[in-house]
């Protein structure tokens, strides 16, 4: 089974990289880009039947730092 983990900085945590991308889009002439948030996508190839709880534990223990990041697991 495959899952995709999306990791994003939490709302309210300044994302200077997203801000830089927003500025660059503006500099390229794209108008109306009011906000950019940049995150990570991590794809995992897992043994069939790996439980949601185990995947959650992987996210909590390593893939995301929940002090600053939120995550979402997508089943593929």
């Amino acid at each position: 089974m495959k899952v995709r983990v999306h990791v994003m900085l939490k709302q309210g945590v300044l994302d200077p990289q997203g801000e830089a991308v927003r500025h660059a889009l503006g500099a390229l002439g794209f108008e109306g880009v009011s906000s950019v948030r940049q995150g990570k996508v991590i794809e995992l190839d897992l043994a069939d039947g790996t439980s949601e709880a185990t995947i959650g534990e992987m996210c909590e223990k390593l893939l995301a730092n929940t002090v600053i990041e939120s995550y979402r697991v997508e089943q593929l």
Partner: protein, 221 residues
């Protein structure tokens, strides 16, 4: 007095930190990240700067899960003294030994220069400085923008756990925090590098005092 300096793949301030501890009177053992236990009789653990595991995933995240770090955590939980500098600070926040996290610098640039700091928190690490004293130490980091929620920042300030503050914030750190202490004041994490300003040849000895009092403080502690 014995100090252990942890070495991860990508650590690059480990030997500087060892020299600073030695100058302060410690016998130093370098401890490899794959070891599962600290040597016996350790009084102080140093987690050095560098780019452990290439800063993959997040700075300090992989190192925080290295075998030896479990024992460093147990050491700290038993009241052991731990100093984390730069990447070492990032590792300590990732382990949860210190609150908060280090984000990308607000200006997105790697910054390598000497900055002004104000000494605040009461601890054995800051005991050789006057409270409120201004010192200068080098910083060299891309991800030194300290972040924590307001409640945590209030707690750190309320308990006097801010060891150092930037006098001219270089990286966007919340409330100018450059170094913070654990609740028992025995774990210090800081982005500036005291070990890079610890002898005359460095052109700045402000960092030497952080190490200088440790052995005497530990003897009486």
């Amino acid at each position: 007095m014995k100090a252990a300096v942890i070495v991860f793949p990508g650590s690059n301030c480990d030997r500087d930190m060892a020299v600073a501890f030695e100058q302060a009177g410690f016998d130093v053992e370098m401890v490899w990240h794959k070891d599962t236990a600290l040597p016996s009789g350790i009084d102080m653990v140093g987690v050095p700067g560098g780019f452990s595991f290439g800063d993959y995933l997040r700075c300090g995240a992989i190192a925080a899960n290295a075998p030896i770090v479990r024992d460093v955590k147990a050491f700290a939980d038993k009241g052991g003294y731990v100093l984390g500098v730069c990447n070492g600070f990032q590792v300590l926040t990732e382990t949860g030994l210190l609150p908060g996290a280090l984000l990308r610098n607000s200006e997105l640039k790697y910054i390598c220069r000497t900055v002004g700091l104000k000494v605040e928190g009461d601890s054995i690490f800051t005991s050789a400085y006057q409270t409120g004293e201004e010192i200068a130490l080098p910083i060299a980091h891309h991800d030194g923008n300290y972040h924590a929620d307001d409640a945590t920042l209030d707690l750190l300030e309320g308990e006097g756990r801010v060891a150092f503050r930037y006098t001219d914030n270089p990286n966007g750190s919340a409330r100018d925090m450059a170094g913070i202490l654990s609740a028992n004041r025995r774990v210090l994490g800081m982005m500036p590098h005291p070990e890079r300003a610890s002898e005359a040849a460095h052109g700045n000895e402000d960092g030497a005092r952080l190490f200088a009092n440790l052995t005497s403080a530990l003897t009486t502690a």
